[in-house]
């Protein structure tokens, strides 16, 4: 019994630990130094900024982590704890203004960003380096240095070799914006590959259906080995017997009313007025007419 409890506890631990926040999933995704026309902060100033991206599928709390531009002083600017906005959801970004005045708010850094420097993101223990990004000396104004995804599925990022157009507060798209259609035009200009593959897929799908319906049909018809074993007689034999029994019963018992009912059902079926949309079923529904209407048979009350 103890083993079961221990196993359950271990399982719970695994589940909770897998959902727990992982600071190592944070990256410094983009940095802009000279801000002439990019975003304005809450105080109306155009500062440089640092963007942090959560590449995991879970929520990560930035609170307590540090940003710095000095390798020897990794705790230069702390991100305050207790602010709900520091919780980054999956694939979300946070933008920190490098105003040099930490007291301006949660999302303001105590230093300014400069070219030819490195920005460090440090874990809340103040020692573990989570990520860093180098700012080149040649970074033009209003251009940023950013990390772009080379594998969107695995969330693998590399620093872009060239300055990029700033995209604050949004996921950095990879430089390769080629659409599927453009890619297809390049790789298969005459469309032959797509055509052959598509025809094969259409045929495969319908051949599988053919096989499945064929097999199920055999089972229902009684031709399949299994059903043959289960019942000695097949459906055709049974239906012939039933038909013979019905005809004998009709011969013996039927009067004109039965024939009239069958004739009326067929007539209604041909008119398509009472058929209830089921195959092989003819239903006679009682329709309302002046003869059967209760309302019309009432006498008018005297005024």
């Amino acid at each position: 019994m103890k083993r079961i409890y221990i196993s359950l506890a271990a399982l719970c631990l695994c589940i909770f630990s897998s959902n727990a926040q992982n600071i190592s999933d944070l990256i410094i995704s983009e940095v802009l130094v000279d801000n002439d026309s990019s975003v304005v902060d809450d105080y109306g100033n155009r500062n440089g900024w640092v963007e942090i991206f959560n590449k995991s599928q879970g929520t990560v709390n930035l609170g307590g982590c540090y940003l710095s531009d000095d390798r020897n002083d990794l705790t230069k600017s702390v991100i305050p704890k207790g602010d709900l906005k520091t919780k980054l959801g999956p694939r979300q970004v946070a933008l920190f203004y490098a105003s040099g005045n930490k007291r301006q708010g949660t999302f303001y850094l105590g230093f300014r960003v400069h070219k030819e420097s490195t920005i460090y993101l440090t874990s809340n223990d103040g020692r573990t380096l989570v990520d860093s990004i180098e700012i080149p000396a040649s970074l033009p104004a209003d251009m940023s240095v950013s990390k772009i995804p080379i594998d969107n599925k695995q969330m693998v990022f590399v620093t872009s070799g060239e300055p990029t157009k700033p995209t604050p507060m949004s996921f950095n798209e990879s430089g390769n914006n080629e659409t599927k259609s453009q890619k297809m035009a390049r790789e298969d200009p005459y469309g032959l590959i797509l055509t052959v593959v598509s025809i094969m897929v259409v045929f495969s799908a319908l051949i599988i259906l053919w096989f499945l319906y064929g097999t199920s049909g055999d089972i229902f018809k009684g031709k399949h080995k299994l059903t043959k074993k289960m019942s000695g007689k097949n459906d055709n034999e049974k239906s012939r017997e039933i038909a013979a029994a019905i005809s004998m019963a009709l011969d013996a018992e039927c009067n004109g009313e039965v024939y009239a009912a069958i004739a009326m059902a067929l007539d209604k079926y041909q008119e398509n007025t009472v058929h209830d949309m089921e195959s092989y079923v003819i239903t006679i529904k009682t329709g309302k007419s002046e003869w059967s209407s209760g309302q019309l048979s009432f006498r008018q009350l005297p005024k």
Binding site: V202, I208, L209, G217
Partner: protein, 380 residues
């Protein structure tokens, strides 16, 4: 007096007469033509009348900025058009089609499914031709789907792949669907001998209720697992069919196959018609699309017929398939099956092919939805 003249002059600027161009007039005449064909010839009236009248509505020239045009954000027509643009009318129509369609003919003779696959060659033939005519792959795929002879699928795919061409593609698809008897008959006669047309096929067996209930579940799982991108169409088609065949959701099936599909068909037809504003519709591309659409129907019909002849090479006497049902592999339900019946009876009045042709016909619906899913997966 001057004020009155000025006011009248200003009013004149707002009228359609003042803003009318020959292109608008041409489109209005085409709309009237659609309505006339629908009423006089009774070709696809449920579609051609809404589309035709939509063309007239969409081509009333108007002063811009009144927020009433179909392309003006927030207008009533624009709101209704979102069902086409965002692609949620076609799956609703597929729900209704599923709820109305009896797949017994297909279940009883599963080998006929392959004809539904072969007829999809029309889609890919038109795709190749469109590329040769200079269209981009996504546009070529949207044009190619006209060959599926399935209006909702054509609208669904073109709204995803080539929204700019959607009006021309939808009108082309529905026009040729209305002209199925005219287009298919000569192709069928050309490709078959009198002896082949006289082949009498065995009657389809009776299908049990259990088989009908299992059909949509197996069909959906198989096709959707192979082509998940076709999920909106395939899911709704088979769901609608399950509503019908389960026997316990009669009210839902009746609603889906009756009032719901009627409402959506009216809206889709009207808004597609409205979207053919002269300035967006009368272009060189539209003419190319109409030519390619016609070719795709011809290729699809020929492929279906020739494929049956190919199948017959491997079938014993008594099990051979009449090639006249090959045309029904396109999914214009039930018009193309009706063409098989009519052409078959011309040779032998006793040879009824309608039920036989319904097999490939409904297989064509599945096939074109699968093909649309593949194209969307590759190019979407």
């Amino acid at each position: 007096m001057d004020q009155i003249i000025n006011s009248l002059s200003q009013f004149w600027q707002f009228t359609g007469f003042c803003n009318m161009t020959w292109q608008h007039l041409l489109m209005i005449l085409i709309g009237i033509g659609f309505i006339s064909i629908a009423i006089i010839k009774q070709w696809e009236p449920l579609l051609l009348i809404p589309i035709g009248f939509g063309m007239i509505i969409g081509n009333i020239p108007m002063f811009p900025g009144l927020n009433i045009g179909i392309y003006e954000n927030g207008s009533v027509l624009n709101t209704l058009y979102q069902g086409v643009k965002q692609g949620w009318y076609p799956p609703l129509i597929f729900l209704g089609i599923g709820a109305m369609t009896d797949f017994s003919a297909l279940i009883s003779q599963p080998r006929l499914i392959l004809i539904g696959a072969a007829a999809q060659m029309g889609i890919f033939g038109a795709y190749l031709l469109s590329l040769l005519m200079g269209f981009a792959p996504n546009e070529a795929a949207a044009i190619g789907i006209i060959g599926g002879a399935d209006g909702p699928t054509a609208i669904f795919l073109s709204s995803k792949l080539a929204p700019d061409l959607m009006g021309a593609i939808a009108v082309s698809a529905y026009s040729y669907m209305a002209l199925v008897p005219v287009i298919q008959r000569p192709v069928m006669l050309l490709l078959t001998s009198k002896k082949e047309r006289n082949i009498i096929m065995p009657k389809p067996r009776q299908v049990s209720k259990k088989e009908k209930i299992i059909f949509p579940i197996i069909g959906f799982l198989t096709t959707a697992l192979i082509v998940p991108s076709g999920l909106p169409l395939l899911g709704m088609l088979f769901f609608g069919n399950l509503l019908k065949e389960s026997g316990v959701t009669r009210r839902l099936a009746v609603t889906a196959g009756g009032p719901l599909i009627d409402v959506v068909t009216t809206l889709i037809g009207l808004t597609v018609g409205c979207s053919t504003q002269a300035d967006k519709f009368l272009t060189g591309n539209s003419i190319k699309i109409f030519i390619l659409g016609l070719l795709s129907f011809i290729i699809a019909t020929a492929s279906g017929v020739l494929f049956v002849k190919f199948m017959n090479l491997f079938l014993k006497d008594g099990h051979k398939i009449n090639p006249l049902i090959g045309n029904a592999g396109v999914s214009a339900v039930p018009d193309s099956a009706r063409v098989s019946e009519v052409v078959g009876r011309e040779v032998n009045p006793e040879n009824h092919l309608l039920m036989q042709a319904m097999g490939p016909n409904v297989a064509g619906v599945i096939g074109s939805a699968v093909a649309a899913g593949i194209l969307l997966g590759f190019l979407g």
